[in-house]
């Protein structure tokens, strides 16, 4: 394989999934310029209040941070279609719990766009208090958007759920970042939410999803994407 990854001036990596051209933005969104579509995954909105209910008081700023980042991306790319790829809320009650000010912000972001809530394991029911359409999966062009990658589905699948992260070791130091993971056929998106962790792409949970010889991790940097070939990655 000789896939030399192209990184645009704005720091996005250009990828091809089942023949469709897409940009991996370093802030964690996937953009299909020809389709006017922007996808984000695993927003985990209201994770803070979900933990607070159980007596763990994480900083109550996660929803605000996630929405601000999303707002910035929408303003930049102006997509007509937005896909939130599941686990949009950390739990089923998240949308109802969301403070009114954030709900208003979100509704404003949604205005004038086709907005799809894909259901995830954390939020199997669609958020009733919000506009937008709900679906378990969405087919666009040759692509299929669904929350959990399906073994055997393969070509054209865009999924989330796993929170992929990758790690490199160089000169005795280790760097771990969230990443987009793809073999050119399927792509798994990083978690977009502000308080979400990562799971290494070499973990067993990814078994059978990618052709290992073609796996690329598009690691999220502060200002750009760093495309790293699978064979340079280190487990855990």
């Amino acid at each position: 394989m000789s896939a030399v990854a192209i990184v645009t001036e704005r720091g996005s990596a250009v990828v091809e999934i089942a023949g469709e051209r897409a940009l991996c933005d370093h802030r964690g969104a996937l953009v299909f310029p020809e389709l006017g579509l922007l996808a984000v995954s695993d927003l985990h909105l209201e994770k803070g209040s979900s933990f607070a209910r159980r007596g763990s008081f994480l900083p109550p700023y996660d929803t605000a941070v996630t929405l601000a980042k999303l707002g910035m991306l929408l303003a930049e790319y102006q997509p007509g279609i937005v896909v939130s790829l599941g686990d949009s809320f950390h739990d089923g009650g998240g949308a109802d719990r969301m403070p009114a000010v954030f709900r208003d912000t979100l509704v404003n972001l949604m205005a004038g766009r086709d907005w799809y809530w894909i259901s995830g394991n954390h939020d199997p029911e669609p958020p009733r208090v919000l506009p937008g359409r709900s679906a378990t999966e969405l087919a666009v062009s040759g692509l299929v958007f669904r929350h959990e990658p399906l073994l055997g589905a393969g070509r054209g699948e865009i999924a989330g759920h796993l929170h992929p992260g990758a790690r490199i070791v160089r000169r005795g130091r280790s760097v771990r970042r969230a990443c987009f993971a793809s073999d050119g056929e399927r792509l798994v998106m990083p978690a977009f939410g502000s308080l979400t962790g990562t799971l290494n792409v070499l973990d067993r949970a990814y078994a059978g999803l990618f052709r290992r010889d073609r796996l690329m991790a598009y690691m999220l940097g502060a200002k750009r994407i760093y495309p790293i070939a699978g064979h340079m990655l280190v487990p855990v």
Binding site: V65, R170, V175, L195
Partner: protein, 840 residues
């Protein structure tokens, strides 16, 4: 023990009931003066601190008041209520509590005293703990964590209502940690339950005994002190510095040159205890000794990372005197009585005079016979340090660290614990807490913020009110909002946050990544070390060279790499920074040629050449040398303030040089000095007044520069993680599940970043900052140094490297600057991929 018959002027001895006098007499002993003195104070209801060296009968002294009290107590009539605990004994180690119980059982049984005693530790089965609550023993031996748990239970007040004495063992080691803070708060609570409580503290010699005396009693009125009973030191130890014809190395920590001599010493003694400062030094020394062990002497290894079963085996072997030598780290520092050690060898510099004295106390556990010890310096600076420590030990100098203010994360834990026990009134709890010495200066605003933190996280954004853990009710008291809160608290109590570790599992299959079959577990190793390994790397652990195969879940797989060299050096620097006292002594020695006579010739020659080629700084001066080498320019400074403070200094100096256009490339720090290398000639910059040395070393660096550097530093992140765990912001354990270190680390880092951005004044960031300032960053010491050297910087612009600079120059390349180079590394990795693709 050679007991002198002591004549008492009637009174003190009169305190001893006949039963006890006879018991002493039957053994041919008489009570020691300090035992009687302590007894007199305790019987008069006065709390007291007993300072005595090892082997002085400290334990018996501590318990004598209790035993006499209990012996004279009327029998409980059947049908009357059970009595609560009479004496609470608290030790820093589980093993020590068990050991003391065994020792105490002897006099109790021999005198036939009607006294029940039991231990209560994390290992005590729950049915026994339940039973202890219903029918408490007279003497309960336990740990600070268990005390915190007892206090947080609803029946705490009843359980402790008959408490008369609390005995705090190894107090000097407890008070300097967060465990000590937790214990001080527990003690304050006990005093509220029983205002007449008498506290007895047992301690080794410390630099500031008054701090410990305050620690033992209610700090209302402020500055109140317990009585003190001091036992003069026993026979002077015989300490020597290893003499050798071999060349003493310029740098490094391995002391390989001394192995044959050390082995000879082991052969000439019954049992030798070899102390080192770090686990990796222990591993190295153990391996080197076995390399020369022609007689196959039983030499064992003991450090905290080894598997528990392995450690117990070694301890058993020590008890039965079947070992000739044990290589150990600080795990054996505390006062557990093991075997018949007749020689202590200290490899590497002891870093503190008090630490050395305590470690030497491990040999010959009899107060009146001299201990024997040999110091083995690993490099030339350590020769001076050993010399200074040796003189300090003869002079009886003490350099135990000063006590620090109580940590706020510990306070948060305690406040929740109090609420779990019974509803509290804020005013009363505030007063009670200020009775604890570490919290005597706590201001009300901070206390209120902590209560707010415990209730709802303490955020400016009040969005968690409805999930509050504790709530203020109509009667003005705070109570736990749900029984679940108390249950969770009990699972997470304590202040010991271990660095995340992974099991090291041995496997025979090599080179198969993490798809390997498991073998035996060799021990545990810190995750941050494993992070730096790639499969195929070799390192030293558990006494052998191992090859890293991979990580699977919570285990690290390794295979044998016999015959190979360990390629990755395990972090080799000292765990303990050089104490301020010893640092001053070493500076003094450098400045005074008269004192060089006590040094080996090769070391004094080295100093003479330095005086010739450059200069030796006066005791209070800071020497800064600059010189070119290769295509770089170097600056070496010699503050002697310990590695932690130097590391912080290095970070700040490089930032400043960067701004001044010096183009610094990196730095390295040791206990003694710091070296910075740069693209530009720094000597010229200073000489031409382009950028003054005084400006470079101005203490305003501790303001914005420090703040800016810290923002992204892993040091602060690691400290934050500990504070978040101790304060209960994140939990180690939920009912039914335990988070692994890895999971905790990830989420703590995320929380830290969010807090830094959105609420930089949050109370937990404040706690983190003050922790780091006294701990990993050693800002306090750096600040003291910077003000000491103001106007006293001596600059030598040299044409070539000076003799004094050689040791640190040899360290360059071994250590790296932990900077913000992550993005660079990612960029390089991505680029190398492109090269590969284009070139192939």
């Amino acid at each position: 023990m050679s007991e002198q018959p002591i004549h008492f002027s009637g009174e003190p001895l009169g305190l001893l009931p006949e039963l006890f006098l006879n018991w002493f007499g039957d053994r041919g002993w008489s009570p020691r003066p300090h035992q009687l003195e302590l007894l007199a104070r305790a019987r008069a209801g006065k709390s007291a601190l007993l300072i005595a060296p090892t082997g002085a009968g400290k334990t018996l002294a501590g318990f004598l008041p209790s035993l006499i009290d209990l012996a004279g107590r009327p029998k409980r009539k059947p049908g009357t209520a059970l009595r609560g605990v009479h004496t609470l004994y608290i030790s820093p180690l589980k093993a020590l509590a068990v050991d003391i119980e065994r020792n105490l059982r002897k006099p109790v049984e021999e005198m036939g005293l009607p006294v029940t005693m039991e231990t209560r530790t994390g290992d005590t089965p729950s049915h026994k703990r339940q039973r202890q609550k219903i029918a408490p023993p007279d003497i309960l031996l336990t740990t600070p964590e268990q005390l915190a748990l007892l206090i947080a239970s609803p029946d705490a007040e009843r359980f402790f209502c008959d408490l008369r004495y609390v005995v705090l063992d190894e107090l000097h080691s407890l008070v300097i940690s967060k465990r000590g803070h937790l214990l001080s708060l527990g003690l304050a609570r006990l005093r509220r339950f029983v205002p007449s409580l008498t506290a007895v503290g047992l301690s080794a010699t410390v630099a500031e005994p008054d701090a410990l005396r305050r620690w033992l009693v209610d700090q209302n009125p402020p500055g109140a002190m317990a009585d003190i009973v001091t036992v003069a030191g026993g026979a002077k130890p015989e300490i020597t510095i290893l003499e050798t014809e071999e060349r003493v190395p310029w740098a490094g920590h391995s002391a390989r040159y001394a192995i044959p001599k050390v082995y000879e010493a082991i052969r000439a003694h019954r049992t030798t205890l070899l102390f080192v400062n770090t686990r990796s030094q222990a591993e190295m020394l153990f391996r080197e000794l076995w390399r020369v062990n022609e007689d196959n002497l039983p030499i064992a290894l003991h450090h905290g990372s080894l598997d528990v079963a392995q450690r117990r085996k070694v301890e058993k072997a020590m008890e039965t005197n079947s070992l000739r030598a044990i290589v150990a780290t600080s795990t054996l520092d505390l006062g557990i009585d093991w075997g018949d050690v007749d020689l202590v060898v200290h490899v590497g510099a002891p870093k503190g005079a008090s630490r050395l004295a305590q470690r030497i106390g491990r040999s010959n556990h009899r107060m009146d016979e001299p201990s024997r010890a040999i110091l083995v310096p690993a490099n030339r600076f350590e020769v001076m340090e050993c010399r200074a420590a040796l003189e300090a030990n003869y002079l009886g100098a003490q350099d135990t660290p000063p006590l620090v203010e109580g940590a706020l994360d510990v306070l948060a834990q305690h406040v929740l614990g109090c609420a779990c026990g019974a509803p509290f009134e804020a005013d009363a709890l505030y007063e009670e807490i200020r009775g604890a010495e570490p919290y005597a200066a706590l201001d009300r605003r901070t206390f209120d913020r902590i209560v707010d933190f415990v209730a709802t996280g303490g955020y400016a954004l009040k969005s968690y009110e409805r999930y509050a853990r504790i709530r203020k009710t109509k009667d003005g008291r705070w109570r736990v909002s749900h029984p679940r809160v108390a249950q969770q608290y009990r699972l997470n109590v304590g202040t010991i946050v271990e660095a995340p570790t992974l099991n090291v599992r041995f496997t025979r299959s090599r080179g198969r990544g993490s798809n390997v079959r498991g073998g035996p577990v060799l021990g545990q190793i810190e995750e941050y070390f494993l992070e730096t390994l790639a499969p195929g790397d070799t390192f030293l652990f558990a006494g052998r060279v191992l090859r890293f195969e991979g990580i699977r879940e919570n285990e690290c797989y390794v295979s044998a790499a016999a015959g190979e060299d360990a390629r990755i050096p395990v972090y080799a620097g000292g765990k303990f920074p050089l104490s301020t006292y010893l640092a001053g002594e070493v500076r003094g020695m450098l400045a005074d040629p008269d004192r060089w006579k006590a040094l080996p010739e090769q070391v004094s020659d080295w100093l003479r050449v330095q005086a010739d080629k450059s200069v030796l700084p006066r005791r209070e001066d800071l020497l800064v040398e600059t010189f070119p080498r290769g295509n770089r320019y170097y600056m070496v400074a010699y503050p002697f303030e310990g590695r932690l403070a130097h590391q912080t200094l290095g970070m700040l100096l490089t930032r400043r040089l960067e701004r001044a256009g010096g183009g610094p490339l990196g730095f390295v720090a040791t206990d003694y000095s710091i070296a910075i290398w740069a693209l530009r000639d720094m000597g010229r910059m200073f000489r031409m007044q382009e950028y003054g040395l005084e400006t470079l070393f101005d203490d305003d660096m501790l303001g914005d520069d420090l703040e800016a550097w810290l923002a992204d530093s892993w040091l602060l992140k690691r400290t934050f993680r500990n504070c978040a765990l101790i304060s209960g912001l994140i939990e180690k354990r939920h009912p039914g599940q335990e988070k692994t270190g890895r999971q905790v680390t990830v989420s703590a880092d995320l929380i830290y970043d969010v807090l830094r951005t959105h609420e930089p004044d949050h109370i937990l960031l404040q706690a983190t900052w003050s922790d780091a300032a006294t701990g990993l960053l050693d800002v306090r010491r750096l600040g003291e140094m910077l003000s000491r050297i103001r106007g006293r910087i001596v600059h030598k612009d040299l044409e070539r490297i000076s003799p004094l600079a050689v040791p640190i120059m040899l360290e360059i390349g071994k250590e790296q600057v932990p900077g913000e180079a992550n993005e660079v590394l990612l960029g390089e990795t991505a680029d190398s991929l492109i090269e590969e693709a284009m070139g192939g």
